[in-house]
Symmetry: C2
């Protein structure tokens, strides 16, 4: 159990990730990142020239870690329902260990300008080719294996059911009287619900 064996640079990245992902770009403060890393502000600028540069390192790294995970799943040769289940499982696993990430991504994707998006697209090796998934869905419909459904709707529905619970937690824990552990339980049993739901909804 090594405690502070991390290099300064690693500590900065770790601290900046935590602060940026929980507070967002506009809400984050360089001072808070420095405190979290156990150094001072000057160090942040020494390693990464500006708040903006540091943010991009963090944000791009986060995005680049998520995107390929489902990217390669999509092109895999798997039966449709198994593939959807694998996508659901990947998202759930990823976000369970980083519950603030979904809101962060959605937020910065809407707030940051086009240059940011372009930089992201340029850096991500390969964006998921959803056409591949859409074609597979289309074929299943045509073969009569599943109920007719617009492929994009099915993708959107699958992603919605899986990711939205992570971003709407405060609606239930804050406003309605759901406790955090009750909510964790729901998230824990989410996969079974989603897979069962998809299975029955697609049955011919």
């Amino acid at each position: 159990m090594k405690l502070t064996t991390l290099s300064t640079e690693e500590r900065i990245i770790k601290a900046a990730s935590k602060i940026f992902i929980s507070k967002g770009y506009a809400g984050a403060r360089m001072q808070e990142i420095a405190d979290e890393a156990g150094i001072n502000k000057a160090m942040l600028h020494y390693y990464y020239r500006s708040k903006d540069k540091l943010f991009r390192v963090i944000a791009l790294a986060s995005f680049k870690e998520i995107i390929p995970r489902i990217g390669h799943l999509i092109e895999k040769d798997l039966p449709l329902l198994e593939k959807l289940a694998a996508i659901v499982d990947t998202y759930l696993t990823t976000f369970k260990s980083n519950p603030n990430l979904p809101l962060f991504i959605l937020n910065e994707l809407t707030q940051q300008g086009d240059e940011f998006i372009d930089e992201l697209k340029a850096q991500v090796a390969e964006l998921p080719r959803f056409e591949y998934l859409f074609a597979q869905i289309q074929k299943e419909v045509e073969d009569g294996n599943i109920r007719p459904v617009l492929p994009f709707h099915l993708l959107l529905t699958t992603m919605s059911m899986t990711i939205f619970p992570f971003v709407c937690r405060p609606v239930f824990t804050g406003l309605i009287g759901v406790t955090n552990s009750q909510y964790d339980e729901i998230i824990g049993s989410r996969k079974e619900h989603i897979v069962a739901f998809l299975t029955h909804a697609l049955k011919t």
Copy 2:
């Protein structure tokens, strides 16, 4: 077509809503709100003492407008699927005319502190009593009218399918090559998809 017949106070509210809801509390600037309203910063402080106060007026008003809309639906005496369809329709209609609202709400509910949540709870006349909906779902399951499902999962799924598309738009329009009008079409046909999906997924 009255152009500037609005009182200063109305103009401030309108401008502040626009800026706060699209940029969030941390990202909004008083100067930008003043510009949008066609006045100067001093006026903002004259009417609402601080950024914080102004924000609360806007945020609480937004929340208070949304919450009761489904609150009363939930306790209505309607068959389950019709009730779910009505909830879906209400959300879709509300957010189609204010597409930034969902992300704003989710965001501020996670960013703002407990005092904000408490103030919100105190001001909202009545929070939706989901127990009522849960009991109805439970009964339908017990009567064998729908497939067994945990009531909270069903609510979460319904809300997810309906609201998430509004917050994940930039994922598809920014990263994947979906155009905004294509995405609007999807949102336009969303209700039919969701209702059909729910119907088939719940069939015994």
